[in-house]
């Protein structure tokens, strides 16, 4: 009922001058990956800034980019490759803050598959997430010179579901994992770390920027919206830093917000610990060098690049400059 009221309320004032309502669309289901926002809400950081923030969890069929295009959110959490690809499709997304300094994406392989270096990927089956998350993988493969269309000498790509079963069932030699989630599920399943070989995108020099905050370009021209976003980013980063420092408490806050009730304390506490490593060192401001590296990596896609030309104005420090100034 309460949510219904908020929704009705949002619909009623959404077009008016009262710009202090913010709707945030997450990239995936409620989990510690988004702890900063939930902490900022639970600890009243948003409230202190005079914001009324609604956090919408995502899911396998929800593309944050599509939600923001449809006006269903003011700001979204998205990975830079997907955001840049959407920008090329004519949806002018702009990065306003980058809470995640480093990438948590890895390829995790069973040692028994005989893989020791990326060169061994040839003729193996690799599990990859799609739905906008495949871009970093595709650009890495094309840099390695491995075809992904199933031809001989290339790699066979399988779209993995939402879990690590393809590796456990040996349907794939390697699967995509995040340092904060799936990797630990493999370990939980009883496979020890020395039975695994992992390739971090970060170490391979193909890392792309992950969870950042994106808004639509035309709305940024509005000073009132700018002001709201400054407050939002400031409060969110306060939430992130709190979550980093109080990782267990943050995990419990996330658990409080998980409406499926199916998440466990174990998973979330561990996830929060790993997430803290990725947000460490970011004050919210985008590292332009890292963004340019992301662009370069995406452009280097060989015959089938993820984006065809370097984007202009895909990020701005306008918001973080103000948010971090005081």
């Amino acid at each position: 009922m309460k949510r219904l009221l908020t929704a009705a309320f949002l619909a009623a004032v959404g077009t008016g001058a009262q710009a202090e309502d913010v709707t945030l669309q997450l990239k995936w289901v409620t989990q510690a990956q988004f702890a900063g926002y939930y902490v900022a809400q639970a600890k009243g950081f948003y409230e202190e800034e005079g914001l009324n923030v609604t956090i919408l969890p995502g899911g396998p069929d929800i593309a944050p980019t599509q939600v923001i295009a449809g006006g269903g959110a003011d700001v979204i959490v998205e990975w830079m490759p997907a955001a840049l690809a959407a920008r090329e499709k004519g949806l002018p997304l702009v990065n306003i803050a980058q809470p995640f300094a480093s990438s948590g994406m890895m390829l995790t392989c069973l040692k028994e598959s005989g893989i020791t270096t990326p060169a061994d990927f040839a003729d193996k089956t690799l599990g990859v997430w799609f739905f906008g998350n495949e871009y970093p993988f595709l650009s890495w493969m094309s840099q390695l010179g491995l075809a992904t269309d199933g031809s001989a000498g290339g790699v066979t790509v399988l779209k993995q579901g939402f879990n690590v079963d393809p590796l456990l069932q040996k349907q794939a030699a390697c699967i995509s994992t995040m340092t904060y989630n799936e990797y630990w599920q493999v370990i939980d399943a009883g496979i020890t770390e020395d039975q695994l070989v992992t390739f971090k995108y970060e170490d391979q020099g193909v890392a792309t920027l992950e969870d950042g905050l994106y808004v639509l370009e035309d709305r940024l021209a509005d000073p009132a919206f700018q002001e709201t976003m400054v407050k939002f980013v400031r409060a969110s980063m306060k939430g992130w830093k709190y979550a980093e420092a109080n990782s267990d408490e943050a995990a419990m806050i996330v658990l409080e917000n998980d409406q499926t009730g199916a998440q466990t304390e174990n998973h979330q506490k561990r996830m929060m610990g790993e997430i803290a490593k990725l947000t460490a060192g970011s004050n919210g401001a985008l590292d332009v060098a890292a963004a340019e590296r992301t662009v370069a990596s995406l452009l280097a896609g060989g015959s089938d690049p993820v984006i065809t030309k370097a984007p202009e104005g895909a990020w701005t420090s306008m918001i973080t400059d103000k948010a971090l100034a005081n």
Binding site: A85, F130, F131, L158, K159, F162, D165, P166
Partner: protein
């Protein structure tokens, strides 16, 4: 804005024409019966096009039919590959295996009223269950390729078909069965000559229900892991890439495939059950 008004105008004109057609002698001809729904479909597409153009709906929200049609034309090989993977390898083998298994099971339990009484309520119950929930589990068991999709389809179609066959086999009348008995017909002769033909309307009813389930099952299962082609894969991936024109192109193919599949079963039904009152025109 004018595009919108044009479209609305076209819609009204088409509707008026349909009302005229439906009232005229043409409505009794085969051509008329095909023309009216066709005109209606075209009018809906035109209205859609007008809405999208007139209201400037962003293509990442809802692409116009013309854009989708262009996409279908441009991406035929990809669409064919997806179709082959999902329908030809996933849905149809699954449907055939499921229907075959249901048939064998129905015959196997036919001689045991005890088993029938036990299996029928359970079958009826399972037929009403949200079997789609099994999709992630079956993908885990049978791998990511078409085998797991076929498995989902088998499970989804098995019970509706089984229940209908069992009900159909019981539909011949006592008097008819007695007549066969007086002729000295064996169990198998009675089954073949009387009870199976009598069961056909029921069986086809089950097959029709199962045909739409088969498509849903094959597509949902692809959401939980698949190779990098297939209709479910295409839909979920292209939504993430904001390639909405491709999503709708795939939906169009799915609708077409579903209708053809359904139509095919209806045709076979007409041919097999020509004697049934519902087929007399």
């Amino acid at each position: 804005m004018s595009a919108l008004w044009l479209a609305v105008g076209f819609w009204l004109a088409a509707w008026a024409l349909n009302v005229l057609l439906a009232g005229s002698f043409l409505a009794r001809t085969r051509a008329g019966r095909a023309l009216v729904p066709l005109l209606f479909g075209v009018a809906v597409l035109v209205l859609w096009e007008g809405l999208v153009r007139g209201l400037n709906v962003a293509p990442v929200i809802l692409p116009a039919p013309s854009v989708i049609a262009a996409k279908i034309g441009a991406e035929l090989p990809v669409l064919w590959q997806d179709f082959a993977q999902t329908i030809l390898k996933g849905a149809i083998p699954g449907f055939v295996i499921g229907a075959g298994a249901a048939f064998v099971t129905a015959i196997a339990i036919d001689r045991s009223p005890f088993l029938q009484r036990g299996l029928l309520p359970i079958g009826n119950f399972v037929a009403a269950l949200p079997i789609v929930g099994l999709a992630p589990i079956l993908v885990m068991w049978f791998g990511f390729d078409w085998q797991s999709k076929a498995a989902v389809v088998v499970v989804m179609v098995f019970f509706p078909i089984l229940v209908n066959i069992v009900a159909g086999l019981q539909s011949s009348e006592r008097m008819q069965r007695d007549l066969m008995a007086t002729w000295g017909a064996s169990y198998w002769q009675t089954l073949w000559k009387l009870r199976l033909p009598a069961a056909m309307p029921f069986i086809f009813n089950g097959l029709k229900i199962a045909s739409t389930l088969a498509l849903i099952g094959a597509i949902v299962a692809e959401f939980f892991g698949s190779p990098v082609y297939g209709m479910g894969f295409r839909i979920s991936t292209e939504v993430g890439r904001l390639g909405l024109d491709m999503v709708w192109a795939t939906i169009a193919v799915a609708a077409l495939a579903g209708s053809v599949f359904y139509g095919l079963i209806t045709l076979i039904e007409r041919w097999v059950t020509f004697w049934h009152p519902s087929q007399r025109h």
